[in-house]
Structures are given as C-alpha cells and as structure tokens.
C-alpha cells in the first residue's frame, strides 16, 4: 500500500486529466458502496423506524391478542389487520407465504389463524420471541403476546428468508440504479476529460501546425484561465526567440552586405588587371614579341585562376549565408537542366567535348534556385574540366522517389575509389592534376546538396570509365 501510495504521489504531477477524473469516479462509487454496507448493517442489527417486519411483529401480536379479547371473531381480526398500513399488510395483500399469525384462547384452543402452520406452533408457548423450525418451510421468526386481560394469546411470525428477501429487494433497489449509472458515468467522465482538455489540444495543434519561422504569439484569448500561465510562458519564449532570430537575421544581413562589398572590392581590381593583361597581350602580339606574349599569357592565366577561386569562395560564403534565407520556389528540374546545359554548351564546344542532356520533362520540385544552379553548374564544370578533348559528358535526369536524381557522367580519367571521399573536401586537388581548378567545386556540390536534404554519390562514368556523380534532391517543401 505504501509503495502504491508513493507511486500515486510520484505519478501525480504527470497524471492525466482523464486518470484524475476516473479516480474521482472510482472514489464516488466506493463511497456509495460503503453507504449501502452501513445501511445493511444497520438494518440487520439496528432498529431503523418503521423499516422492517421484524420491528412490527410484537405490535401486530399484541394488537391481535387485544382485538380477540375484545371481540373473539375472525372478521374482527381481519378488519383490524386490513386497517394497518405497515409492511406486513402489504405482504398479506400479496398473499405471501412469508407471514403468518394465530390467536389462541386461554385454554390453548385456536380461535383463528391464517395458516395451517399455526397449528404446528400451537403448543409452543414457552418463548415469547424466537426462531421456530417449520419442517419443509424453513425457519420462522415468531413473537407471542398476551392480551391485557390474559384471555387471548396471539403470535405473529415471518419467514427468515422473506426478511432476507426484503433486504435483498431493498439493496437491489438501491444498488441496481447505481450500477446502471456506471456505464453512463464512464463515457461521461471520458467525455468531460476530452472536453476539458480540448483547449490544451487546440493549443498543441496551433503550435504543431506552425512553420519554424512563425514566431507570432499564440492566441491566449480562447485558453481557459488554468492554461493561461502556460500560454503566457509559451508567448514569452516565442518573443525572446523572435528577438534572437531578429538579431541573427541582422547579423546574417551584415555578413551578406560584407560579402557583397568584398566581392565588389576584390573583383573590380581583378577585372582591371585582366583588362590590362589583355591590352599587353594584344600589343605583344601586334609587335611580334614572343617572350612578352608568353609573360602576358602567364599573367592572364593567373588572373583567370584567381577569378575562379574568388568566384567559388564567394559562392560558398554566400550559399552558407543564405542557406536559410533563399526562397524555396517550385521549379521544373528538367527546365533548369536545359538552361544550365545550354549555358555550358558553348564552352563544351570550344573544348571539343560532346555535352548532352537526357531529361524527361517535367520534373517538378521545390528548391532554392541559386543553390540548385550552383550544384548543377559545378557538376558540369567539373566534368568538362577533367574530360580530355574529344570526350563526352552526359547529364541525366531520373526519377528517384520521393525526389529526383541528376547524374553527370564523363569518360575522362575518373577518380580512384581511395579518393572518393576526399574529392568533396574543400581545397582538395587530385595528386598530379594538370587542369586549373580551385578544389572547391565538389565541396560546394556536396555541402549545398546536403543542406537541401539531398545526397551525393560517386559512381562509374560512361562506357566503363571516367566518373559519374549522382546528386539526389528531395521533391522538397510544401510536403513534396
């Protein structure tokens, strides 16, 4: 019991409304049962006024004796009994075998009786009150009284079973409605618990259904008074969260502005260097000075490399900064791929590489356009860079539920499996790589794809050689 109480005590703070209500109903039913038990005990051992045959028997016996002494006729006795309104008269009217009476004259002869059994206890005059065994008819409880003048003696008796039956009737009359209530009480209790917790669930639904960015306070006007502190606490927390978000957004905006400015500041002089180098190269070519032409060509190559590195670094920084801010839009991936392949095609042509696309339109998805473009551009750029002249690069679009898979396959030298993980690291360059590269392209591909919930995998390229990179994108947003 102690352990149970402990458990109850411990369970209390987390106990559900429903459990509390059910415990209350249980306690109510137990109280009822105790009340009925007390009533029954009182009935058996106490003397509730006018409640039982048992209490009336002495009165009835006395009444019969006195009536017979006054007027020794059967009719007078019957009339007297009819006039009574106690429980036993009801039993008489119902012709129950449970009640019996007899009146004797002083000489012991029977004046009148309502039962044959009366003759059986004719001689039993000793006890004024007590149980009598009647063969075949069970135990009877009888009471005898003498008339005031001593001329008549009367006995009234009830069958024990009838007494008990009356008690049973009484108990049934009390218990049965009570038990009938239980089946109604349980659903009612559960309904009350359900209705009472409705605002809690509404609050939960409101918070659950929210977008992560939605920090508006919850509506606490329709919340019951008891829940108001909870709603208030939630709103307070939301307010501080909104403030933190605001500060974060401002910081991100500053960062973005910084990158935009840095880009401008770095790119403009680089463009000037490139333009000057071009002028030098043109003049060197015009004047036929091969040494100077070689120097300017080196200068131009260095500017190109620096420009590419700057592009990738700024792209990486910007993608980092706007991973959470760039709008997610509904796009057709096939259309995007056509644009990007079209964009890269002139370069492929200049390199002598055959670039093609296989895409079944349309391929709807929700994605951040710039992130998507940077992934596709870097994949194509990477493949074109490492495929020798005369090679082939294929871009494939396939359905891979619940989203799409884009593969860029080439027949270049490929990447040994040992380096498959490393190629995605920032600034990784394959040992002995001849092509100018920043080592950031595939890092951008993987980081951007993962941020969008996609995957990147390396596989075989075309015709059993080269490299194939597969990127999967979830159909994304708005529940797909």
């Amino acid at each position: 019991v102690k352990g149970w109480l402990n458990r109850l005590g411990r369970g209390w703070p987390g106990a559900s409304f429903r459990r509390v209500l059910l415990i209350q109903v249980g306690a109510m039913l137990v109280g009822w049962a105790v009340w009925i038990l007390a009533y029954w005990l009182g009935y058996m051992h106490g003397t509730p006024p006018g409640a039982s045959l048992r209490n009336d028997l002495p009165q009835v016996a006395q009444l019969l004796a006195d009536t017979a002494a006054l007027k020794p006729e059967r009719a007078a006795l019957d009339a007297r009994l009819q006039g009574l309104h106690n429980g036993y008269t009801e039993m008489l009217r119902m012709k129950t075998p449970a009640f019996g009476w007899v009146v004797w004259r002083a000489d012991g002869s029977v004046l009148a009786s309502d039962r044959a059994e009366a003759a059986w206890w004719a001689g039993r005059t000793a006890a004024s009150e007590g149980d009598i065994e009647v063969p075949g008819r069970g135990t009877w409880y009888a009471v005898q009284r003498l008339s005031a003048d001593g001329s008549m003696r009367a006995a009234a008796a009830v069958q024990r079973e009838a007494l008990n039956a009356q008690l049973g009737l009484l108990l049934r009359a009390t218990l049965v409605p009570t038990l009938w209530i239980v089946p109604f009480l349980l659903p009612t209790t559960l309904l009350i618990a359900w209705v009472a917790t409705l605002p809690v669930r509404r609050l939960a639904r409101e918070i659950e259904g929210r977008d992560a960015a939605d920090l508006r306070p919850v509506d606490d006007t329709r919340v019951p008074a008891e829940l108001r502190p909870v709603a208030g606490a939630i709103n307070g927390w939301l307010r501080s969260l909104a403030q933190a978000r605001g500060a974060e957004a401002a910081a991100r905006e500053r960062e973005r502005t910084f990158f935009a400015n840095a880009a401008h500041e770095l790119r403009t002089p680089l463009a000037a260097i490139g333009a000057h180098a071009h002028t030098l190269a043109q003049r060197a070519a015009g004047q036929g000075e091969p040494a100077q032409a070689a120097t300017t060509a080196g200068l131009q190559a260095a500017v190109r490399r620096m420009a590419a590195l700057l592009d990738q670094l700024l792209l990486l920084a910007r993608l980092d900064a706007q991973a959470h801010t760039e709008a997610v839009l509904p796009l057709d991936l096939a259309q995007v791929l056509r644009e990007r392949v079209a964009h890269a095609a002139p370069r492929a042509l200049a390199l002598g590489t055959q670039l093609s696309l296989q895409a079944q339109a349309p391929a709807p998805l929700h994605a951040q356009p710039e992130a998507l473009h940077s992934v596709i551009d870097n994949l194509i750029d990477n493949a074109l860079k490492y495929t020798p002249p005369g090679g082939e690069v294929q871009v494939l679009l396939q359905r891979r539920a619940p989203g799409w898979a884009v593969g860029v396959l080439d027949n270049g030298p490929g990447v040994p499996p040992a380096l498959h993980e490393q190629v995605f690291e920032r600034f990784f360059r394959a040992p002995g790589a001849q092509q100018p590269g920043t080592g950031l392209g595939l890092a951008i591909v993987r980081e951007t794809t993962r941020a969008a919930g996609g995957t990147v995998a390396l596989g075989p390229g075309l015709g059993g050689r080269g490299l194939g990179i597969w990127v999967t994108w979830p159909a994304g947003a708005a529940a797909g």
Partner: protein, 224 residues
C-alpha cells in the same frame, strides 16, 4: 562601321583598363564615372552600347537602366557588375539589360557580347550578316555563298536561320525556337524543327549548326 560605346564605371583602374583594352579591338570608347554623366552622354551622343556598372557614387546603375530603357529602344545595355547573385542578374535582365557580365571578365568575352547585343538590338535593321563563307540578306531573304551561289531557303528555314544567327554562340533550346517560330507551338508536329534543321544543314553545310542533345541547337561563331 564603328560602334560608339560608353562605359559607366566609377573605378579608376578598371575604367582606364577597359578603355585601353577595348581600344585594341578597334572599339571607340567613352568612359564616364557617374550615373548623371552617363545619362547626359546618352541623351547628347546617342551611343550604340552602354556598359553599365551597378555600384556607382551618385545612384544605383539599375535606376539609369530603367530610365534609359523607356526612351532609348535601340541602345544595347550590358551590365558589368561584381554582384553575381542569381536574383541580381534576373532583376537586371528584367529591367531591360541585354546582357549581364560578372567581374572579372575576359576582354574577348566582353567584345563578343558587345557584338552579340548589337546584333540583337539592330537585328531587324541590319540587312546583311556575314557568317564564314555565307552572306545572309534579311531583306531579300536569300543566302549568298562566297563562291557566288545564291541559296534560296523556304520561309520557315530562313526564319530559323535568322534566329540562330541572332543568338550565335549560344544555345537556343527547342522550346525557345518553337515559341519564336510557330505561332501555336503545341499544334506543330513534334519533329517539324528537326526537319527544318536538317534542311538547313543540307543546304548550308553540316558543320554550321551544332546539336546539343536533349537541349537545343547553336550556331557556332558570331557573324561580322
């Protein structure tokens, strides 16, 4: 014919370098350093091409673009900017820029873009385009070969050739070509475009038009 080009660029180094570098390609360049100076020059001199930076001391280059676009339909505008975000690019093209180059760019690339936008802007007026050995006469709707042959093309094939020449060096997707050539692209037979491409190749040579499989077509090398 020499085209007149105006550069609106506030950076001293870049302005100087661009003026010289474009000069080596025989292009006449005027360089100004503010939106206000750019506006006055365009109004007074009616140049052919405007190379427009965005971050300028007195205003955003985009405001100049929006303002000039309404009045000077024939002015070709190429935005040269350090901003490479997709949104910035799309916004400027929507505002009416003919092209968008991100700094740093290669001078040959800039020169070919200048020629390309000039072709597009003046396309309707320019009667004769030279591509390799071919001379395309848009008024007479004939193609002349350097060897003296006159190649006559059916209407659709000639329209297709003009589209490809106008975007030489870039891929035109099937959707773009169909939208430009056929009033109701959905009603055309799906292989109509291939048939016309095939016809052009047969008459003008296989190498002229390149196929980018799954995407579209491009005509290599710009006309002069």
């Amino acid at each position: 014919m020499s085209h007149r080009i105006v550069i609106v660029e506030d950076d001293l180094d870049l302005g100087e370098a661009l003026t010289q570098a474009l000069g080596t390609h025989g292009l006449a360049v005027t360089w100004v350093r503010s939106v206000d100076a750019g506006r006055r020059f365009v109004e007074a001199e009616q140049p052919d091409v405007l190379l427009l930076d965005l971050q300028l001391p007195d205003a955003d280059g985009a405001t100049l673009l929006a303002e000039l676009r309404a009045r000077h339909q024939r002015l070709a505008v190429i935005v040269i900017s350090a901003r490479d975000a997709l949104t910035s690019r799309t916004r400027l093209l929507d505002l009416g820029a003919d092209d968008y180059l991100v700094k740093p760019f290669e001078i040959p690339e800039l020169v070919s873009r200048i020629h390309a936008v000039l072709r597009r802007v003046r396309g309707q007026a320019s009667a004769r385009w030279q591509i390799g050995p071919l001379l395309i006469d848009t008024q007479r709707r004939v193609v002349e070969h350097a060897d003296g042959r006159v190649i006559e093309l059916p209407r659709r094939e000639f329209d297709l050739l003009v589209e490809l020449v106008g975007s030489a060096g870039r891929v035109l997707t099937r959707e773009q070509l169909q939208a430009r050539l056929y009033r109701d692209p959905d009603a055309v037979q799906s292989n109509a475009l291939e048939v016309h491409i095939h016809g052009l190749r047969k008459k003008l040579g296989e190498a002229l038009i390149k196929t980018v499989r799954g995407v579209g077509y491009l005509l290599d090398g710009g006309p002069t």
